[in-house]
């Protein structure tokens, strides 16, 4: 009786994205002693956003390391550790600060296996919050999906919900390549149901595979990270008007699962992409280009449309900030325009 009720309770467990990442890291730290976490405030402060809460207490100074405020320095140290055979998780307090260290991410981590002719792998994870938050203004709101997604040698993932977050961080840690994990600060506190399968210590979300969050027939809506939730909201609203959207959660930016998107477009004949980053040279731009290069192009009944952040540095004032990020109304508008409604 106790076992059954335990099972029932577990399968309905609500877990926030923050807890999911914490669990994922905890499980991988336990599984492999070569895994360690370093970054600013990750140990004694429990993490600037409390994502690494409890880990220092459990694993101590050797596995959870507080660094000085020196991104270029500690990212370089982390890459060196990965080359020497350890499996570091390097946290950037936000990815805006990764710009201080980007040479290490690209030139030391991403390109090395290629440059060495297959001799030197770099099994490192760079993780942290990415993109807009609330009122943190221009220098703290940039989305780096397109920048990192541009580079061969890197894998780039962008979780939306708790299942994504837990499964992707575990896959990233187990991957022998440099993986950039773009989390989202506004999602950290959001609870989601974690299925009992997802609660298992061996649950992994494969890198490079998108997920269809909602089936639909009229239009394909593709997104990553927090905007996936907005797309689902838009889909609910439109459903009442008889428009059924198929919402795809990319989960991975690079390598992009274009096949799932193509198969969907070949079914619905319409495409809208949604992202938080800037429009030029963005994730949506890449999706549109690839659609044109593949079989799905001939199935489009209308040009593909992108919904993105506004093409400005993030302003601080609330009214300006609200209009600089894609809102549900912008997604609905774009969908209706595409469907010529």
């Amino acid at each position: 009786m106790a076992a059954v009720s335990g099972l029932v309770r577990r399968s309905l467990e609500q877990v926030t994205v923050r807890e999911a990442i914490n669990q994922g890291m905890d499980e991988e730290l336990e599984r492999d002693e070569k895994v360690f976490l370093l970054g600013e405030e990750v140990a004694q402060y429990d993490g600037a956003y409390k994502v690494s809460r409890g880990l220092w207490k459990k694993y101590g100074d050797k596995r959870i390391i507080d660094t000085p405020i020196s991104e270029m320095g500690f990212a370089g140290i982390a890459v060196g550790a990965a080359m020497a055979g350890l499996r570091p998780i390097c946290e950037f307090m936000t990815f805006n600060f990764s710009m201080q260290a980007i040479d290490q991410v690209i030139n030391s981590a991403a390109k090395t296996y290629y440059m060495s002719g297959g001799l030197q792998p770099v099994p490192i994870v760079f993780r942290g919050p990415n993109g807009a938050s609330a009122g943190v203004a221009a220098q703290h709101s940039q989305c780096f999906a397109a920048w990192y997604g541009h580079c061969p040698g890197l894998k780039v993932v962008s979780p939306w919900n708790s299942e994504d977050a837990k499964g992707l961080i575990k896959s990233a840690i187990r991957d022998n390549n440099p993986v950039v994990v773009l989390e989202n600060e506004l999602m950290y506190g959001v609870p989601f149901e974690l299925s009992s399968e997802a609660q298992s210590k061996d649950f992994l979300v494969p890198i490079g595979k998108a997920k269809i969050e909602r089936q639909g027939t009229h239009i394909t809506v593709v997104s990553h990270s927090r905007p996936v939730g907005h797309c689902l909201e838009a889909a609910t609203v439109l459903s009442k008007e008889g428009i059924e959207c198929e919402v795809i959660n990319m989960r991975t930016i690079r390598p992009m699962d274009i096949e799932t998107i193509e198969a969907s477009v070949m079914k619905t004949n319409h495409l809208v992409t949604v992202e938080g980053g800037w429009p030029q040279f963005g994730v949506g731009a890449e999706i549109c280009a690839r659609i044109m290069e593949g079989p799905a192009f001939n199935f489009l009944d209308a040009p593909a449309v992108r919904v993105t952040g506004a093409d400005v540095p993030m302003p601080y004032a609330k009214i300006l900030e609200d209009n600089s990020v894609p809102q549900v109304k912008d997604i609905i508008f774009a969908i209706k325009k595409t469907l010529n409604i």
Partner: protein, 359 residues
Amino acid sequence: MRKMLAAVSRVLSGVAQKPASRVLVASRSFANDATFEIKKCDLHRLEEGPPVTTVLTREDGLRYYRMMQTVRRMELKADQLYKQKIIRGFCHLCDGQEACCVGLEAGINPTDHLITAYRAHGFTFTRGLSVREILAELTGRRGGCAKGKGGSMHMYAKNFYGGNGIVGAQGQIFEAYNMAALWKLPCIFICENNRYGMGTSVERAAASTDYYKRGDFIPGLRVDGMDILCVREATRFAAAYCRSGKGPILMELQTYRYHGHSMSDPGVSYRTREEIQEVRSKSDPIMLLKDRMVNSNLASVEELKEIDVEVRKEIEDAAQFATADPEPPLEELGHHIYSSDPPFEVRGANQWIKFKSIS
């Protein structure tokens, strides 16, 4: 004569709004200036340092007091507005560190150039912006010094280059030291050492906490950053050093912040409340200046209290403005992307939303 003076001053201390006659009494019952001993600075690669005594005039003293009190009250008002959610995002307060920004400004000229990191509200004020413009920027309104576009960490003024949100440049500072020394640039590098980098104490983050020595080939001073006169004299010394063509110099100001790193940090998980209270009771910069001035008859307790009242009112008025002023108009979302360019179109959240961009 003395009896008459005492009588007059008794009457006047009860009637606060008679400036003319008060000045008359003031010039007779207060000292014009006083000499104070200040702490000797620790020196690195310097034969001699700033003087260990300084003269403070009554006029300067009152001005410094007013400025420090204004910064203090402005930061506390920002704390209040943040808790009311009228200020959003990041907010890094400098209460406790008033002697640094006010003392620094007292030692340089308005034509000198200053740049700092995110704990910038005090410097924004001392570099010449009004409390109104600063608070309205914090609340994101059109009357803010950056028209509401920048927020707390991105305030600029003439010869003040912000307000910058990205630090983590330990390596970059050594690059800057190298070039400044190589080319003998007239640059004062200042470290406001408030003992913590976010939630990490300096002992846990720095192999050497003698920051004033870490310019290596660059001479340095370690200064009592809670004593505004010490900061002023050290700044005057450093500025004179630079202006004489000798090259860069480093100043470490030992100071303290009462608030946590930012408004989202309670500031007590990595330090004790006792520590904070001890600094407040023994080393508060405003209290130190006040005690000096009152004890050497440069000002009276009542006079300083009046300044407190005036400052409070100024802050209240500024906060009112900052709360009532409207947000910037949506049409301005695309403005000021480029300088000196003809107008162009800026894309919004989708291809049908367009904003005009004016330089």
